[in-house]
């Protein structure tokens, strides 16, 4: 990967010197090329572990002789968090780097932009991390597949736990954009279905990254909720947690919170980790299944660091792609779609499958409670929630997808 980048820089320099800045194409070889795009400069805390994950998968497959008798080569690009840039890079990867398929992306809008590009140009796109439900349902298309459990699935996992709480009066705190809004809509709808007696008494919608912790926490306290549903993450989460701890909101009021158990967030909170929050996440140090132990050990040996959730996502996305290429025995888009639909493969979290009906993988997440051990945040009382249990039935999913996506 690094060598390749150096090669590219060298050839670009030669190209620029010759007055031809656009001819920076490296030598063609017979390797299978995969195009990868992600927000490396904008969201490095997630995407760098993610890159380490997929690099490990690529090294493993090449050490085992590659695919279809050819080595695998990844051409990776930074979208700088902009969907417009991602579309340009996708063009570059497909038309001048001649990649067989596209993968990657973290932000929902970047994922949707690349999915739309995939539909227009009839290229397969395996989305790694974007969470928006629209990617496989409302805006789904036949070229796009998605690995991570979606906003809907993770909300459904938490609703199962939330319904067990005695709480009747709920408050929500969510970032004011599509992700926050659809997470709250899913949560309300699913919880009301299980518990018709609940009511939602307060809603706080801070702008993403702009959470004003003291005002938000005070407004929530004033509404006297029995429980809280939290969707904030990133820089907003530690602000909210510390202010809530200082003002005695936590742990008095139980909280269910999306994603907060992922090491990417938990490692930041350290001893401030709010005890008792019910979260989705990844308790990396405590999983002892053979699949995970094998992944954990090779990852640790390779990088001398423990995997984050991003590492698992990167690794699993690429192993799925390799499996699909093996199954298709071809790089043709139609063959790959056929192979990916219903594809079963093994992830560090256990077996998973891309549903044929909506192209969503059944990879799940861990649901548990937060606690503090030795000054660090950990998940306790956790269980693996298999994504397959938290997806709508095939018939319902079909109804949510555009007609053409079903062909």
């Amino acid at each position: 990967m690094t060598t390749r980048r150096h090669l590219l820089i060298a050839s670009a320099a030669v190209g620029a010197a010759a007055g031809l800045p656009f001819t920076a194409q490296s030598q063609r070889n017979s390797a299978i090329r995969i195009g990868e795009i992600n927000s490396y400069s904008t969201i490095p805390q997630f995407t760098l572990p993610y890159r380490m994950g997929w690099q490990l998968a690529v090294e493993e497959v090449n050490a085992a002789g590659g695919l279809l008798g050819r080595l695998v080569e990844v051409v990776s690009r930074d979208d700088a968090g902009k969907p417009e840039d991602a579309i340009r890079l996708a063009t570059e990867l497909v038309s001048s780097e001649k990649v067989a398929l596209l993968t990657g992306t973290f932000l929902s809008n970047v994922g949707l932009a690349v999915a739309d590009f995939a539909l227009r140009n009839r290229v397969v796109f395996v989305a790694a991390e974007p969470l928006t439900d629209a990617l496989v349902w409302e805006k789904g298309n036949r070229y796009t597949f998605r690995l991570r459990p979606s906003t809907y699935m993770q909300s459904a996992m938490l609703v199962e736990e939330a319904a067990k709480l005695p709480a009747k009066r709920w408050a929500v705190i969510a970032p004011n954009y599509e992700y926050g809004q659809s997470a709250v809509a899913n949560f309300k709808q699913l919880l009301k279905a299980k518990r018709p007696d609940v009511e939602f008494v307060a809603e706080q919608w801070p702008a993403l990254g702009k959470l004003e912790a003291s005002s938000t926490v005070q407004a929530i306290i004033a509404a006297r909720p029995d429980a809280i549903f939290n969707v904030t993450f990133g820089a907003d989460l530690p602000r909210l947690v510390r202010e809530g701890n200082l003002r005695g909101l936590f742990p008095r009021v139980p909280v269910v919170s999306l994603l907060s158990g992922e090491p990417e967030y938990l490692d930041v909170l350290k001893d401030e980790t709010p005890k008792g929050w019910i979260v989705t996440g990844y308790p990396w140090s405590q999983i002892s299944t053979p699949e995970h132990s094998k992944f954990f050990n090779t990852y640790y040996k390779r990088y001398n660091d423990y995997p984050r959730l991003g590492s698992v996502v990167g690794y699993s996305t690429f192993t799925a792609i390799f499996e699909a290429i093996r199954k298709a025995k071809s790089l043709d888009a139609e063959q790959l779609i056929g192979a990916l639909r219903g594809l079963q493969w093994s992830t560090p979290f256990g077996p998973a499958q891309f549903r044929a009906v909506d192209h969503q993988s059944t990879m799940g997440a861990y649901v548990g409670k937060l606690d503090v051990r030795d000054g660090k945040g950990v998940m306790v009382d956790w269980r693996y929630a298999d994504g397959a249990q938290y997806l709508p039935s095939p018939a319902e999913a079909t109804k949510q997808r555009p007609h053409e996506a079903q062909k």
């Binding site: 980048r5 590219l8 820089i9 800045p21 656009f22 920076a24 490396y40 400069s41 490095p44 805390q45 690009r77 700088a80 902009k82 969907p83 417009e84 579309i87 340009r88 570059e92 038309s95 001048s96 929902s108 809008n109 949707l112 932009a113 739309d116 539909l119 227009r120 629209a134 805006k139 004011n176 954009y177 599509e178 992700y179 809004q181 809603e203 706080q204 801070p206 702008a207 702009k210 004003e212 912790a213 003291s214 005002s215 938000t216 005070q218 407004a219 990133g234 820089a235 530690p238 602000r239 510390r242 202010e243 200082l246 003002r247 005695g248 930041v268 909170l269 350290k270 001893d271 401030e272």
Partner: protein, 613 residues
């Protein structure tokens, strides 16, 4: 009651932090006239340094608060270095170039910070000695918030004393009122500028350091605080420390109570309030009219018809551009299409800025409005291609007419900030009104309405090239018509222009609207080119890119924006493609360009080849 008290303290505490950042920014502006885009970076460095220092030492109150001070002092040194190494070389250039240079510094700092501290967010422990909360009228207020609340007024009092009661303060006041006279009376300007910059940096660093017990230290905090600080400085009046104090309290209160009453609209609220303040008081709460207006780009020689050789060069370039699809691959065609669109965007900004002296920090508003007009026309009324394309410049032009009415009552940086406010209001609406705009997820599938003949990359490129060249020719004709000359007259000497019967306000207003309409057209072309539209088309980076292209190319020539668009687009896309550290290289390139070519590439070429006429 306890809720109101609680919110009051929250607002005051946040206002105090905002004041520290803004006081530095406004001081630097008052004395050096530099709009410091790197101010948020200094704040961020302060936070990172404070984290490293305080977590390295044992957690005693003396170590902790001493560590915060030490961090701020180190940031002061960084600020002084920036002034000496970069800014000192370009004080003679138009002020807008100093802005560009500080933007380059911002990019460099982002990458260097990532390299030094790594990608993870850092969360410092609570402040030793101030870990708990106190009960005030029934509301639990964190002790540390109270402490921060007190720092702001304390710093204000110190600043007031220094500025009004010391010799250095006399120099500062003299330089901010009349730099030339002060210089003529023997004031040591370089030393004063460096010391003011260091003080401003110290305050920014202190504000950043003070934040670490409250929130994580992360790589996004520079831009987040920068925008808010700009708002505060402009609302308070540029250069006025007292104004900054009042404005910071106002914005802090708005955050606290706005969050409570209208939790969904805080983003819009701040910019709305800023607009209202500037409409009522065009120079902010306590600002004074700045003479000459801040943004005034120096008067320059009238346009001369290009020598035949340059016409020939232009013709060759055009023929080459038309022949391009037969010479290069699909990706290069996509880049060429983007360059054409970027050139139109830059030229549309240049029309108001270069000719009329109206600097805009929010040109993305019109670009994005054009893109969203196309997207929403297709989504809601099934508009065909030609109709959607036509509607975009009309909508954007109409919006520019409306906004221009308000914006142009102010001058210079104030007007620029009003355009930014308008763009940010549109951006927030696009993100937060999910039902109408599709929110962050954007509007997809616009490519499906492209006529069949335009569906290939090459055909669409030729269409874009035709439209862009026609637009550039129109802009050029207008610039060289009496309209353009009146516009330049209004820019160079408003009084004399008025005296010979030019309605300067009206002519600026028209120019602003023409620029807006063409930016809308560029946005529409981009929407069809990308096939989807997202709120990012309305975001600050688009405005900054447009500004960079104009400045890099050169403000004083008509061909400048086109050259700037080519240079900047190729540079930035190639860098992001080739390296993770594109921000470092782009920032360095910008700083070097500004230092080496203060007139832009085209201006430099014209002077260099002046003999080839």
């Amino acid at each position: 009651m306890d809720l109101i008290v609680g919110q009051l303290f929250a607002g005051l505490s946040y206002g105090s932090t905002l004041f520290l950042v803004s006081a530095g920014l406004t001081l630097i502006f008052g004395v050096t006239r530099v709009v410091n885009f790197a101010h948020g970076s200094l704040y961020m460095i302060g936070a990172y340094l404070a984290y490293t220092i305080t977590t390295h030492w044992s957690a005693t109150p003396i170590n902790f608060f001493g560590g915060l001070l030490l961090a701020a002092l180190l940031v002061a040194i960084v600020g002084a270095l920036i002034e000496v190494v970069v800014l000192r070389r370009i004080y003679a250039s138009p002020e807008i170039f100093q802005l560009l240079a500080t933007f380059g510094v911002l990019l460099i700092v982002q990458d260097v910070t990532l390299a030094l501290w790594g990608p993870n967010e850092l969360f410092a422990p609570r402040a030793p000695g101030l870990r708990g909360s106190v009960d005030i009228a029934g509301a639990l207020v964190p002790q540390y918030s109270l402490f921060v609340l007190l720092v702001g007024p304390l710093v204000y009092a110190l600043l007031w004393w220094v500025i009004n009661r010391t010799r250095w303060g006399v120099w500062v006041r003299a330089a901010s009122q009349d730099r030339e006279t002060a210089g003529a009376l023997g004031l040591n300007e370089p030393w004063l500028f460096t010391s003011v910059f260091a003080l401003g940096a110290f305050l920014a660093g202190l504000a950043g350091a003070l934040q670490i017990p409250r929130e994580t230290v992360n790589l996004q905090m520079d831009l987040a605080i920068l925008i808010e600080a700009f708002v505060v400085v402009v609302v308070g009046g540029l250069g006025s420390v007292t104004g900054a104090l009042w404005a910071a309290l106002l914005i802090g209160m708005l955050h606290a109570f706005g969050n409570w009453w209208l939790p969904q609209s805080t983003l819009v609220l701040i910019f709305l309030v800023m607009s209202v303040v500037l409409i009522v008081r065009p120079y902010g709460l306590l600002g004074r009219p700045i003479t000459p207006p801040v943004s005034r780009l120096q008067a320059h020689a009238p346009f001369v018809a290009p020598a035949p050789i340059w016409r020939a060069v232009g013709a060759v370039v055009l023929i080459a551009a038309i022949a391009l699809p037969w010479l290069i691959g699909d990706y290069a065609i996509v880049i060429a299409t983007e360059i054409c669109i970027a050139a139109l965007l830059a030229a549309s900004l240049h029309f108001g800025m270069g000719l009329g002296g109206i600097v805009s920090f929010g040109h993305a508003a019109f670009f994005g409005l054009g893109a969203y007009t196309v997207a929403l026309a297709i989504k809601y009324i099934d508009a065909p291609f030609a109709m959607a394309l036509l509607m975009a410049p009309i909508m954007a032009g109409a919006a520019a007419l409306l906004v221009g009415r308000v914006v142009l009552r102010s001058h210079g940086v104030y007007a620029a900030m009003l355009t930014l406010a308008f763009a940010q209001i549109l951006w927030s609406t696009a993100i937060q009104w999910v039902d109408f705009t599709g929110g962050d997820n954007g509007v997809l599938g616009l490519w499906s309405v492209l006529p069949k003949v335009l569906s290939s990359a090459a055909a669409y490129y030729i269409a874009v090239l035709t439209i862009v060249v026609a637009s550039l020719v129109m802009l050029r004709k207008m610039a060289l018509a009496p309209f353009g000359f009146s516009l330049r007259a209004a820019r160079d000497s408003e009084l004399r222009a008025e005296a010979i019967g030019i309605d300067t306000h009206r002519i600026r207003w028209l120019a602003f609207s023409v620029g807006g309409a063409f930016a809308g057209l560029a946005g529409a072309l981009s929407a069809f080119h990308k096939g989807s539209v997202f709120p990012t088309t309305l975001s600050i980076p688009v405005s900054v890119d447009a500004l960079l292209m104009v400045l890099i190319g050169g403000v004083q020539t008509l061909v400048g924006p086109v050259i700037g668009a080519v240079a900047y687009h190729v540079l930035s896309t190639e860098l992001t493609r080739l390296t993770d550290h594109w921000r470092l290289f782009l920032g360095l390139a910008i700083v070097l360009l500004v230092v080496a070519f203060p007139e832009g590439i085209a201006g430099f070429a014209r002077r260099r080849f002046a003999k080839v006429r």
